[in-house]
């Protein structure tokens, strides 16, 4: 088995026991990136830099200097996360000439942990979209079926993790951009609590929803990456000074007796039959593990996407107004349209959406006093074809962008953490994801539940046929 499939903890053990060197691991990563290039998951690969760092990190390990579980582990960054001295363009033409003058806080954390940044991953332009079909960097393809989208906006991060070209990636999630590619690529993605991870050095999309988080094969790998990047940053006014619970400390604890809720008239709404079957089977697996499954009601949840559309439209348009005025032709058509459309809302529209958000948060917070997590499908459907603009949800045709938000909006609107784990495949072999939403700063609990689920199932270990070296 390729060491790339081992998971971070096992790869680290192999490195420390001399079964593989950092240079060999990085070389394997580079080879996998090349072999799976049809996905167009990367916009830039740092071959020379990565090999140079590999030599340096191997020397540290040889000298007995161990920087922790990420030491020598190949990772990748979404192209909106700053890496000092490199072009970080957020998948845009507008920022094509921009060189980051400093590392993002999360980049600095990963590098202090000894990881080797292999490259920047493809993304939807400025993260404003869910398909990663980018006119400037080229279409990113789903490794499970190259005719289909990898979702987005962190689609390259999803495809890169799914092919195991790296052990994990960073994504950014505003309306679902970590969880959506995790679901459609058959891997795991954690959206942390708003304010848990620094956004310093990350190109904003919508300030009141933007989060940075890990995308990797397993919950354990996500936990290792999350532990490296989580915590207060005095340089980012949106982070909160709240202690981080070590997600690895209790990862193996049993989950029997925990309570997980499904939302009456919502958790099962409009699902493709294969998605509903996989989600129900996942709930049954959790019940077999001793989790108590309950049903709760959240009145008004049918408007969560409406509220998300308003906020997710207004805030990016405020960011982009100067460029919309001076360089409109430098945006792709789809992103220019949503940015222009975001300017039509009134201040009252925006505030009403924020008031809805306050109301929803209070209801969900009350429920999360009684249950440990809320379970939802991550997406109602499996990966659409490239170019498909509408999806069928519950028998009605819905705009694909809005359709993608259907189940991810709850965590985005409430600021709560959520994790997407693979829970099956449809009849054509496309991955399906289940989402767990937890209370504020409950990432460790979500990772623990996801880890227990993954110990009982094997969906997160499945590899797309594109990966031939098994």
């Amino acid at each position: 088995m390729s060491a790339l499939h081992a998971g971070i903890a096992e790869a680290g053990r192999m490195l420390r026991h001399g079964e593989i060197s950092v240079t060999e691991l990085v070389s394997a990563s580079l080879a996998r990136i090349a072999e799976t290039g049809e996905t167009n998951a990367y916009t830039e690969v740092f071959e020379e830099r990565a090999l140079r760092l590999a030599t340096a990190h191997q020397a540290l390990l040889d000298d007995g200097i161990d920087l922790g579980p990420l030491h020598g582990i190949p990772l990748a960054l979404k192209a909106n996360v700053d890496l000092a001295g490199h072009t970080v363009d957020a998948g845009s033409r507008i920022l094509a000439d921009r060189t980051a003058d400093a590392d993002a806080a999360v980049t600095a954390s990963l590098q202090r942990s000894g990881s080797v940044i292999m490259g920047m991953t493809n993304m939807h332009e400025f993260a404003w979209g869910g398909t990663t079909q980018n006119p400037h960097t080229g279409s990113c393809r789903n490794p499970w079926d190259l005719d289909r989208i990898p979702a987005g906006s962190s689609g390259g991060s999803g495809a890169a993790a799914a092919t195991r070209s790296v052990f994990g990636t960073l994504g950014t999630d505003t309306g679902g951009s970590i969880r959506l590619p995790a679901s459609m690529n058959g891997i795991t993605g954690l959206r942390p609590t708003l304010g848990r991870v620094s956004n310093r050095g990350v190109m904003p999309l919508a300030w009141s929803m933007d989060t940075v988080g890990p995308i990797a094969a397993s919950a354990e790998d996500c936990a290792i990456i999350f532990r490296s990047i989580a915590g207060f940053d005095a340089g980012d006014p949106t982070t909160l000074d709240v202690a981080v619970t070590d997600p690895l400390a209790g990862l193996d604890r049993p989950v029997n007796g925990l309570r997980i809720a499904v939302i009456d008239d919502y958790s099962f709404r409009g699902l493709q039959p294969a998605v509903e079957a996989a989600f129900r089977a996942a709930l049954a697996t959790l019940a077999d593990l001793g989790v108590i499954i309950e049903t709760i009601a959240v009145p008004g949840l049918e408007h969560v996407v409406d509220a998300q559309v308003v906020i997710d439209a207004c805030e990016p348009s405020a960011v982009h107004l100067p460029w919309l005025e001076s360089r409109p032709g430098d945006y792709g058509d789809d992103v220019r349209t949503v940015l222009q459309a975001g300017t039509v809302f009134s201040a009252v529209d925006y505030i009403q959406a924020q008031r809805y958000r306050t109301h929803l948060r209070e209801i969900v917070r009350r429920h999360l006093g009684d249950v440990d997590a809320i379970a939802l499908p991550t997406i109602a459907f499996t990966a659409p074809r490239v170019g498909q603009t509408t999806v069928s949800i519950g028998g009605r045709d819905e705009d694909a962008l809005v359709g993608l938000m259907e189940f991810t909006a709850l965590a985005s609107m409430t600021g709560l953490p959520a994790i997407s784990v693979p829970c099956g495949f449809d009849e054509t072999g496309l991955p399906i994801g289940m989402q767990l939403v937890g209370g504020a700063f409950a990432e460790a609990l979500l990772l623990r539940i996801a880890h227990a689920y993954q110990a009982a199932t094997g969906f997160h270990r499945a590899l797309p046929a594109l990966v031939t070296d098994r």
């Binding site: 708003l194 005025e325 349209t337 809302f345 009134s346 009403q352 809805y356 306050t358 700063f441």
Partner: protein, 61 residues
């Protein structure tokens, strides 16, 4: 009479206008639907505060 908004001040091509028509129609309908629900169901004292600590409900000292 329609009132001017930010969109009126942006340079738009004919193609932009064609793409915007259905997008704006859908989104403004959503905003109107949401507004009606908020008026009917959300207490008037409920604020639309957007600081992170309020969003996640965390009270920092």
């Amino acid at each position: 009479m329609p009132y001017p908004n930010q969109l009126d001040r942006l340079p738009l091509t004919q193609e932009d206008a064609s793409r915007l028509t259905p997008q704006v129609a859908d989104w403004t309908a959503r905003a109107a639907r949401l507004d009606r629900w908020v008026r009917d169901n959300v207490a008037s004292a409920t604020p639309g505060i957007t600081t992170v600590s309020h969003i996640v409900g965390e009270r920092t000292a």
